[in-house]
Symmetry: none
Subunit: 241 residues, 4 copies
Amino acid sequence: MSAVRNQTQAADEAIGDPSAQTRQRLLEAAAQVFAEGGFRAATVREICKRAQANVAAIHYHFGDKDGLYVAVFREFASRAQTRYPITLAAAPTDPAPARLRSFVLALLYRMLDDGVHGCGGAILLREFVEPTHVLDEMARTVVRPMMDALRAIVRSLLEEAHPGRTLTGAEIDLHTFSIIGQVVFYKHSRPLLLRVSPDRVLEKDNLEPIAEHITQFSLAAIRSRRSLGASPAHKSRSKRP
Amino acid sequence: MSAVRNQTQAADEAIGDPSAQTRQRLLEAAAQVFAEGGFRAATVREICKRAQANVAAIHYHFGDKDGLYVAVFREFASRAQTRYPITLAAAPTDPAPARLRSFVLALLYRMLDDGVHGCGGAILLREFVEPTHVLDEMARTVVRPMMDALRAIVRSLLEEAHPGRTLTGAEIDLHTFSIIGQVVFYKHSRPLLLRVSPDRVLEKDNLEPIAEHITQFSLAAIRSRRSLGASPAHKSRSKRP
Amino acid sequence: MSAVRNQTQAADEAIGDPSAQTRQRLLEAAAQVFAEGGFRAATVREICKRAQANVAAIHYHFGDKDGLYVAVFREFASRAQTRYPITLAAAPTDPAPARLRSFVLALLYRMLDDGVHGCGGAILLREFVEPTHVLDEMARTVVRPMMDALRAIVRSLLEEAHPGRTLTGAEIDLHTFSIIGQVVFYKHSRPLLLRVSPDRVLEKDNLEPIAEHITQFSLAAIRSRRSLGASPAHKSRSKRP
Amino acid sequence: MSAVRNQTQAADEAIGDPSAQTRQRLLEAAAQVFAEGGFRAATVREICKRAQANVAAIHYHFGDKDGLYVAVFREFASRAQTRYPITLAAAPTDPAPARLRSFVLALLYRMLDDGVHGCGGAILLREFVEPTHVLDEMARTVVRPMMDALRAIVRSLLEEAHPGRTLTGAEIDLHTFSIIGQVVFYKHSRPLLLRVSPDRVLEKDNLEPIAEHITQFSLAAIRSRRSLGASPAHKSRSKRP
DNA sequence: CATGAATGAGCCTTCATTCAT
DNA sequence: CATGAATGAAGGCTCATTCAT
């Protein structure tokens, strides 16, 4: 472990540094392999073969397979955040609906395109199924800020739609999840969609209509008189007026 | 493979048959182990130990580890369908909103209850991340009928809300996915919710409020004048007030 | 580890049991290899090759390399104790000098011949240089009883030689160590003896004269008036009367 | 190998030479690491880390790991001989008993002090267990002169005790070994002593009493009438009163 | 039929060593 | 000259699978 190169040290290196190049090739190859078969199925041999590096290079640069995994994860997380900055999608002064649209769009783009070859998302997805400690990190550094941003948007929208109404945390959360759920569905259920509705699989050319639909669907729901008419409590099941 | 016992043969056996009992114990144990660590991480030794069976028993009953996996999958798929029959959730004659509510509720229950009986859901989830041929089977026999049922409900609702409007397949699909997405979010993103909003993780005691929210949210969205105002085509990006 | 076979279970097996045979071959081969290069240098592959067994057999029978090592150690310790029972070397009623002679003889025999191929001693020796937890076990089960036996003999001899003198523990220990030291020298320093005095290396044909010398040397020392004239304390360095 | 620096060349360098300093640091660090875990367990990386030198430095200064080992060995052998010159322990004109005492004392000091300056003794000990070609060198340059010195002392003592008796080489050797055996026991069996008689482990504060005991014990034995009563031949086994 | 032992491939890791700077 | 990166060979261990009973 002590042989693992200092991360900042590595980051400081010029791009042209041959060492950094190997490190980068390793990172890219690992992303692919991890995405294809998961952490367990991935073999360092396969990764090294694709990166045209020696088996020992991984242990030199990243300490061990785990270290490589974490490095890949962070790499792709930061890339996604750089390319599709969710919180900056819309100016904070924009009206809430525009910010919602920006949010949905950014999230969809990120899911479709995240990472250079779309591996980042696949790896994240695996974390859902078999969480490791990197998921904790992701939850803290990526997901929570993102959710908080959406919560703020949702709160604005609900306050506009229901002036004077006091909003509970549960109400805001449920609306937030309804929006996120719609978006991530296209990522999570992609293998299924490929099999039952190949035409609707999220691609570049249908990303914007899908974003528009989700935005409108959600705006309509939030603005409806009913959206808060029913408290999240049980009595909500009684017939509506 | 030639040593694999004929399945119907096995099914025909009396319940009391010790062979059938072993088979069943194997199935239960395998479900647990597969759910806990995934196909790859699961070891036949661990499964056999829990099932109190011999290492070779798996190969006798199921041919190999793969065969066992498929058997487990089918077993739990059929169980879920028996317990929470989604298509039968509401009488076909019920009004569409009631059928929607039944659908959402059944789906949530199924997702939650999978965990109770040994992780059928967890295993299915893994298929999303790393599809095998059993996912094809699932898509055909389980998901497609379920989606078609929801599509029918959505169609009814949209027709009620927008009489005279000609609905495109895309419109119906997008609405359908918006509903399913909201529901499955609680399953797919559970590990994340546990980390960022532990209070909102789907449990028995908040299942019904969640179902109610999703139903109301979706109904409001569908009934809104705007829900179809924008066609799924690109022009939807024109500025709205 | 859980897969390691129960030891008593293995011991109960008939000698003819093929499983026990493999186990035994493994044990013998391991003894050789461990003796030749030490624990670290020994490779399971080499051991298995010599035992004509598969690499995985070791892990099946002994859990891991460590387990095999411990098993080898115990095997040879118990063999040595069976063949050259030190405490039984002489009847407890024999005169102390005879018991001393028996002790020395047994210890020399054991060192020369211990284990089937003399590996047991080599392995024990390595423990001295690089102690592992098996040395603790050996110290408890083998060395301590042996030393206690010798201590008793020494005490008898000293009491005979110095009637009325109160013996301290230190006095007895120092004499005990002087005897053991003479004996084990032939084992410990064998590689050196081979180089500087090849004629004196302990072999079967000179074992008895060596034993006789050590016995007489020690008896003479113990019986001498001076042997206790000097207390082990510092003042002992003053000139003797 | 061709890259290995000439040793005299290195020795000729001024002390202040950074290259010589590195070489020295490497030597010290290697001594520690070799002593701690043996040749095999020692890694060049660990040695270089402790010496704050580059991984390749070892190969530059010593050719390879083996070369380093030999260098360390020679370094510490010469140091020991400088500090505790055994053959010079007593003036050749001193009476034999005094010379014996000096010898025993010097040997004990050497064994104990090895540990202080970084484990020359520990490394030597390992050679006993797993001799390499450096042991040959040691036997020639260190052990043989030392043994010859003791042999001379023993011969003097025996001649004093048994005037007129013709001494055989075997007789002298056996007595010599009996003395050396007593001394080195405290080094060789130290790990065992730590476990069975922690109070008697050789330390600075009990070194002199131990030396005194060994000296007296041996003197008494040698001077006894019996010490040569039995020739090293077989008839020695005849019963004695 | 069912069991315990055996098999061989493959994985992660570590190490001494060498090669371009 | 000295450095940091790269190399390839093992090593211990695990696993699914298959034999003989």
